[in-house]
Symmetry: C2
């Protein structure tokens, strides 16, 4: 048996909760990963939660409450007196408690401050001063430092002495007396080094870092590129201000992906900084996120309206043309959005560069011809099947198969043109300095509708009248 | 100055390359992050690359070549004799070299094998035996182990002795003599522990792990949930087979995101395992990725065709109805895809659960009513503007504003119905056990087109005839 069977463990825990055996419960919980403890605590009644939590050490309480979500933290804040909460707060991860502190209203902040020690108070107010979407806004101050003139032996002693358990000590930052960052070493190098060697002999001076005001996406990208466990964050005086760790980078990458997907679907974020949960967002906020593009595109619908009106007489004398208008719209929207998705994604992953635009368009052109032929053939089939079943009236000078060929040609041209438009738009937006993801799918849909109808009616006018 | 100015550093490096001062160049490179060294080596001529690389230690060469992309690794393989390459290969990261080995053809594999030591040979053939999209396929064997009955002191000695620099030693895995995993401890705990304490006293027995045949997405999700630096991978005998580290998790999350976005746009991956670069994918491969849905939906276009044919007489007697058909298609596709994007993303991020479906649909209903009103008002405006400009003929019994109101009502209902359909589809797919992301945008577009046209013509028939 590798470790206790999950089901068995849940059985034990449920039993202890029912029997109200809190001490025994905590003994079991102490052996479990924190995030699992958190999930179990969520299920407890308020007064039980307070009692169970108090049976952990303050350090453990800090760990646990750091992993609570915002709502649960706020609940605990209201359940406990300020002094008790202050003790837990002092032991929480520095980045989490700073975020929590910012969410409190001013009165609550003032109530809490007297129960914090000077160091915590300064740390919290300092970290709260950074914009949430910057390195400063996501960094923690739970790092460990060394000096260059220490021996490896002395350095290990310092780490042992300094490091309460919440600190990240796999990377050790080498600073001078003014806290200016000189470089870093790893706990591994320290362990492997001869005890008498000076830190200066194995410090890495050419290191990767971020500035406090650097965009969090750029910080995450550095962690990803250099495979870092954590990245140091420095201020304008080159002093070490904090660190951002790898798990924070994953959160940023996730948030950034959501943002890209939503942008592409024409959903406007309420605010760059605040990432709202679906459930926590009110219908009116959801509405505001989506209405901008929807309304803009409805207004742009005038454009397709104008085009169709221009070809009104063609439409009146050949009603069959109306039947395939939705197909022109759909096929264009689909193939255009597909091409845009692929180009946007390849740019985001750094697989293609802007200067390769001619190569990309040439490739998309070749792909679109293949797609165009397939769609054309299917369309021809559709026209034959539908029109013979429904017996659509045609003018004398036109045969059904000739009309079918014409509509099929128009659809093929639409596939080719919308693929190229879909692939070009993100490149153009990027060229103009924007985020390629804003070449949103609704915009492409509307644009290729207009061009598609132009192609469609032009081909029809050319062949049938 | 924090570290050497980037521009200045490039100047020095360029100078040394032009002066062909290879030893001095390597002295500079040795101080730099590996990934930056790799980028510089990419720019060198073949023979220079071989010479410069040979000036690094074998261990460093292993590091560097591990960070090469596949193409550059293959180039080096061809530039060097098998024996020299074998030496570098032995020093490469175990997961990277196993992936590289699998890409070689059988003859090349046979040429390389004699130059590998027994341990490397076994490691490579073992790692190559796992499916690429499983934990086994992405794990590395560069981990360090301890035994329970060691003291902290002895454990540190073992780590020092065992750990060549490529090994991840921040987590130390505690195994028995049969390599069965008993638990883990961290280098931090080891450093902080009293030297005489037994490892068994501070080992974590309730740990998170993955099975060798577990899907890589599930492995990445565990690393993310538990904020792990690495996760141990065990086989069916509970033996420790490898580890997957946090940077691997980021790669998987990125790949998974691309897959989701492409799925949603109706782009079918060529193969789950092979993630193809845009540039490396041939036009015919791109074509195959996109044609399936495009063709399927073109065929489904028959459905909208049938609906329009059913209302042929309405269309003939009131041509103005044809003008707003593309708008019905577009608006439905946009609002439906938006709702689907938001629901899919919220499910992927674990913000909403399937059992909350009624809550979700109620919320979407409220949002869609707001959107519907806005779109309806705009549509009414569009009809008035366009039809008065173009002077569209209407039957005597109908006024333009009445027709406008009718079309606006139809559009509003279309927004509401397509939002609900867009939000429901991912929930239904999930309920049936599928990946919600396959509720692809093209599928939604086609579906809401059909329902939209039904709504549109039904409203028109009801009001105008």
């Amino acid at each position: 048996m590798v470790n206790i069977d999950k089901e068995q463990k849940n059985l034990i825990i449920d039993g202890l909760i029912r029997a109200q055996e809190w001490e025994a419960l905590v003994a079991v919980l102490k052996k479990m990963p924190v995030i699992e403890v958190v999930e179990i605590l969520y299920e407890l009644e308020d007064d039980v939660l307070v009692e169970v939590l108090s049976l952990f050490s303050l350090e453990e309480q800090g760990y646990i409450v750091s992993d609570f979500d915002r709502e649960q933290q706020k609940k605990l804040f209201n359940l406990l007196d300020r002094k008790s909460f202050g003790k837990i707060f002092t032991n929480m991860a520095s980045d989490v408690r700073a975020d929590f502190y910012q969410e409190l209203d001013q009165e609550e902040q003032i109530q809490l401050l007297p129960f914090l020690d000077k160091k915590t108070r300064e740390d919290v107010t300092h970290l709260s001063s950074y914009e949430p979407e910057t390195a400063g806004g996501i960094m923690s101050t739970d790092f460990a430092t060394l000096f260059e003139n220490m021996t490896a032996q002395q350095a290990i002693e310092k780490v042992r002495k300094d490091a309460p358990s919440k600190k990240m000590i796999y990377y050790l930052y080498v600073v001078d007396v003014q806290m200016k960052l000189k470089g870093f070493t790893t706990l591994k190098d320290l362990i492997l080094a001869d005890p008498e060697t000076l830190v200066s002999e194995f410090v890495y001076n050419d290191y990767i870092f971020a500035y406090v005001d650097e965009d969090r996406e750029s910080v995450a990208a550095k962690i990803e590129k250099y495979d870092l466990v954590a990245i140091p964050v420095i201020n304008q005086l080159n002093q070490l201000a904090g660190i951002v760790s790898h798990d924070e980078a994953i959160d940023v990458i996730r948030a950034e992906q959501t943002e890209d997907m939503e942008k592409f679907m024409g959903i406007v974020p309420v605010s760059e900084a605040v990432e709202l949960n679906y459930v926590e967002t009110s219908p009116s906020q959801h509405f505001r996120k989506r209405v901008v593009w929807a309304a803009a595109l409805a207004i742009l619908g005038l454009l397709t309206g104008i085009i169709i009106h221009r070809f009104e007489s063609a439409l009146e004398s050949l009603v069959i043309l109306a039947f395939y208008m939705p197909m022109v719209a759909d096929t264009g929207g689909n193939t255009g959005s597909q091409a845009a998705t692929i180009v946007i994604r390849a740019m985001a992953l750094g697989q293609i560069k802007l200067r390769q635009w001619s190569k990309i368009l040439f490739k998309e052109a070749r792909i679109s011809v293949l797609l165009g032929v397939v769609i054309g053939v299917i369309t021809f089939g559709n026209v034959l099947v539908l029109s013979s079943v429904f017996n659509v009236p045609l003018p004398e000078h036109l045969s059904l198969s000739f009309v079918g060929v014409g509509i099929a040609i128009a659809l093929s041209l639409q596939v080719i043109s919308s693929t190229l438009i879909g692939a070009s738009l993100p490149l153009i937006v990027k060229r103009l300095g924007g985020d390629p993801a804003v070449a949103a799918s609704p915009a492409i849909t509307t644009l290729v509708d207009a061009t598609g109808l132009l192609i469609y009616f032009s081909v029809a006018t050319l062949l049938f009248f």
